[in-house]
């Protein structure tokens, strides 16, 4: 169950590349058991913010992951779902190869252990992906890859789950399955979930908090607060919104 006690505080985060200020003074507060969505136009600094949280780009300001008494959590486990992988279409690496090489020391080039195969298959089943174990990564559909990556990010279960949704390549049906899985994960596990999303409909239906970014914090709050604000209308003059039931 979600404990509601862990939280991620992002205070005054700025990232510059040379003279170019990518994001300025971003503040955010995300709680466990909740899905916080980061939205914004292309180039608004969404992925840069994620990279700052992951420690991949230099930044100023503080990123604190703390328990209920404000003491920092030691040995923070981060699960990360990248937008895409570095592999090319001809890569022979399968979903099993990816999961095993990320989570086990037993060499993937040796005969597989039945116990590991069973464990990974069971884990994948929770993500509607049990049939993908022996499929090559390069041959997965966008939705399948997203679910396989979510499975990889949650093995072992992280304290903080960070998702960078692909801009395209996942169809509506795939997205719906993905958000439903994420919703289930949110309700049953004790983790802070942060997601960069491009699909405003799904954000409105599934997110608990929204951060609207435009090279800096423009607006934060519940989906209704953010989507109903003038700032939102300024950033997205014609948002493709429709009702999306859970």
């Amino acid at each position: 169950m979600a404990c509601g006690l862990h939280c991620l505080k992002i205070q005054h985060i700025s990232v510059a590349f040379g003279d170019n200020l990518l994001i300025r003074d971003v503040n955010m507060h995300a709680h466990c058991g909740e899905l916080t969505a980061i939205i914004g136009r292309n180039g608004s600094g969404k992925t840069t913010l994620l990279k700052a949280i992951l420690g991949e780009v230099k930044h100023t300001g503080n990123i604190l992951f703390s328990g209920h008494d404000d003491t920092p959590v030691k040995g923070l486990r981060i699960g990360y779902v990248p937008q895409s992988l570095q592999i090319d279409g001809g890569s022979p690496a399968t979903v099993y190869d990816m999961l095993a090489s990320l989570t086990s020391r037993y060499p993937v080039f040796l005969p597989r252990r039945l116990k590991t195969v069973k464990k990974l298959r069971e884990h994948l089943a929770a993500f509607n992906a049990e049939g993908l174990l022996d499929k090559k990564l390069g041959q997965l559909s966008g939705g399948e890859l997203q679910r396989a990556l979510l499975a990889a990010a949650t093995l072992p279960k992280p304290d903080l789950l960070i998702l960078d949704e692909p801009v395209s390549g996942v169809d509506r049906a795939g997205l719906r399955i993905f958000y439903r899985i994420l919703n289930g994960l949110k309700e049953t596990s004790d983790m802070v979930i942060i997601m960069v999303s491009h699909d405003l409909e799904f954000v409105r239906s599934y997110a608990d908090h929204v951060l609207l970014l435009d090279r800096g914090t423009v607006k934060t709050g519940t989906p209704d607060e953010v989507f109903g604000s003038d700032d939102f209308k300024r950033v997205f003059p014609n948002p493709p919104l429709a009702a999306e039931g859970k």
Binding site: L85, G90, A93, M98, A100, L102, K136, A153
Partner: protein
């Protein structure tokens, strides 16, 4: 018939070359699979060419045995190029190309002073038939060391080649392992360059793995097929070379590996 198949065994240098092939090809198979996965074919090619500069530096420094200079230079070259590869530059292949060609030019200038480049020609095409018993022991030790490294680190190397960011969040020391990998590739390439030659060493590293990718179903079969293709082209190449009055062995091996590449490509095409 047995003379045709096994006549070469009478010669000590052929026996040595046989052991060299049996050791070098698995070594290259292990490295080659990851070099191809990481899209580093051009990188390792440039690395091979840096041998020329390394030897040139050794000669300038007046070293009688230029191998240490060559290896130290290649390791530095590999680490610098790896840094470039990960930089935010948009055209890293161009930068690697520039480094590589300047390195070759510098090496050629240094080595051709006094019109004596012909002394170093063996660096270009190599000669596997010249390998000695002691060198075979060094090769075997290298193979054993890389095999142990692979047992402990292959998963993490592979994870990095799939996604460095994802690997980092799993606590994998991405930068360290990535540098370790290029250092190992550089050391093995420099060790083998005398027997294989810098013109073709990269082909021997890349081709079996590239061919295996056409037919492999997963990482396990990828490594196994690369190993089989490597040994097959190595041994057949050696035998063909013996049958053809010792025509250059390295190029013969590469030709066979090249045929395997195109044959498996056609096979994959017909399957689809």
């Amino acid at each position: 018939m047995s003379e045709l198949l096994f006549g070469w065994w009478e010669y000590e240098f052929m026996r040595n070359a046989f052991f060299a092939v049996v050791l070098i090809m698995p070594l290259f198979a292990m490295l080659g699979t990851l070099v191809v996965n990481n899209g580093m074919a051009f990188f390792s090619d440039a690395l091979g060419h840096s041998a020329l500069t390394g030897v040139g530096v050794g000669v300038i420094l007046g070293m009688s045995d230029y191998k240490p200079a060559m290896i130290v230079f290649a390791l530095l070259f590999a680490l610098i190029m790896n840094r470039i590869r990960h930089s935010r530059l948009s055209s890293t292949d161009t930068v690697i190309g520039v480094f590589s060609s300047c390195g070759v030019a510098l090496g050629l200038v240094l080595l051709s002073r006094g019109g004596s480049f012909s002394r170093y020609q063996s660096l270009l095409i190599g000669d596997i038939l010249s390998i000695t018993g002691d060198e075979i022991i060094i090769l075997a030790a290298t193979l054993a060391a890389v095999a142990v490294l692979w047992l402990f680190c292959f998963n993490r190397f592979q994870a990095i080649s799939i996604s460095p960011s994802l690997s980092k969040t799993k606590g994998i020391p991405v930068r360290l392992l990535d540098n370790l990998f290029v250092v190992v590739v550089a050391a093995v390439v420099m060790l083998a360059i005398h027997w294989v030659g810098l013109l073709l060493i990269n082909a021997m590293l890349i081709l079996p793995a590239a061919a295996a990718r056409h037919v492999a179903r997963n990482t396990r079969s990828y490594l196994l097929i690369t190993l089989i293709f490597g040994l097959f082209s190595g041994l057949l190449g050696l035998w063909f070379s013996y049958q053809n009055s010792f025509a250059a062995t390295g190029p013969m091996i590469v030709l066979i590996a090249g045929i395997l590449y195109f044959a498996t490509y056609a096979l994959r095409d017909s399957r689809q």
